[in-house]
Symmetry: C2
Subunit: 211 residues, 2 copies
DNA sequence: TCGCACCATTTCCAATACGATATCTTTGAT
DNA sequence: ATCAAAGATATCGTATTGGAAATGGTGCGA
């Protein structure tokens, strides 16, 4: 017996390859805009081209890489200033609403929330940031919205921009206010706190992203 | 000048396979929830398994198919009532705003807009619906929002639901009002018209989708 | 010196075959 | 009829091949 028990962990090799590529692009081992040589990557990751191509297809669907037909894949270039602007315009439409929904919902803000620490490195900060926003979406109870938000890869783009400047985000303190509002089930306060947090992040990012 | 001119047409076979699968799922040749046998599909489409796996990986990232590791791919099941509800909640956050932005923007509503006709079949209606909403997003000038909207695959899910009932959507008349408001650059009217249109569609769909 | 065309190399893309492993189905026993 | 085991089937990853296109470098000509 033991039931399905299937979704404990991923089993497909392509999923691990996907994670490896994603992480390497996040931390800059694979630079934005650089070409992705399939054969070379296959050697480096010790896999055959097949799961690699599969991973790249998925990454392409998420706009983490771009595909030039018959010319290979590229790591998606850094967001320009207008790109940052567009990204935060979309987030501004979704996330305050999600925060409000989360405050309404019955669920409670998890206790094991680890606040971003000053000595966190980029990957850890990115993970915590992604976790925070994803948790808000999860509490809101709209799976599709959560997916849509996830697919924006906001933390991915944001942290690559920070990494270029060697600068660290200052706006992550805003997480507390949002969490507090959700905990006290205050709809409008949650939306407002999220709006403030996003506006803060946006301000710092447009200053970083030129062009 | 003249630019690369490269993206005139797709060249990768996997892209054609992707389109074929998508279309077959839209019109019901591949039923919702049915299994997708890779070898069989490869024979039917006269391609090798290689581009098929790539296409399926992309479709999986877009949630058009679901992957059960070591057990193959499934055509995504029909949206349940809560799924429809979630979908339209997200659209309600994005599309009225996009319509308002489109009304603000300098661009004009294209003349060659073909209104949905009563004798259109499902694929044609789905195409026109998708075109309409995508055009609004395009005029809004936010490429990321447009992508995010596209990735929701709203018309895909909606038309599969209609197809099951053999029923045709009644709410497509609302397109006119939105287009008119955009043409006259009336922000609030555009948003309101889009909101009405979505509410109308939603009403008809939740009636169709049980569970 | 600069631009352009040409050519060789590299790379992508698809096809094919095979082995290992997990799942699905069917058969058979209780 | 229910359950379990065994065979059949499919997925998954590997390895390799060949063709076609794009890239990068070289040399010629203006």
């Amino acid at each position: 017996m033991a039931g399905p028990l299937r979704s404990v962990g991923r089993v497909a090799l392509a999923d691990h390859v996907y994670d490896a590529l994603y992480r390497n692009m996040l931390v800059g081992t694979i630079a934005p805009g650089s070409r992705l040589n399939i054969d070379q990557l296959a050697r480096d990751l010790h896999v055959s081209p097949t799961p690699l191509r599969e991973s790249l297809a998925r990454l392409e669907a998420e706009e983490v890489v771009v595909k030039r037909p018959l010319a290979g894949y590229l790591a998606t270039p850094l967001l320009t200033r207008t790109g940052v602007s567009e990204l935060f315009d979309v987030r501004m439409q979704l996330e305050p609403w999600l925060a409000a929904q989360a405050a309404d919902a019955g669920g409670e803000w998890p206790d094991d929330a680890e606040a971003p620490a000053p000595d966190d490195d980029f990957p850890r900060l990115a993970a915590k940031d992604a976790w925070f926003h994803d948790t808000v979406a999860a509490l809101a109870g709209n799976g599709l919205a959560r997916q849509a938000l996830r697919r924006l890869n906001a933390h991915f783009h944001v942290y690559r921009l920070f990494a270029r400047q060697g600068e660290l985000p200052r706006a992550l303190g805003g997480h507390d206010a949002v969490a507090a509002a959700i905990r006290s089930h205050d709809r409008t306060a949650a939306a407002r706190a999220m709006r403030r947090h996003l506006a803060e992040s946006r301000k710092q990012l447009v200053a970083i992203a030129d062009a």
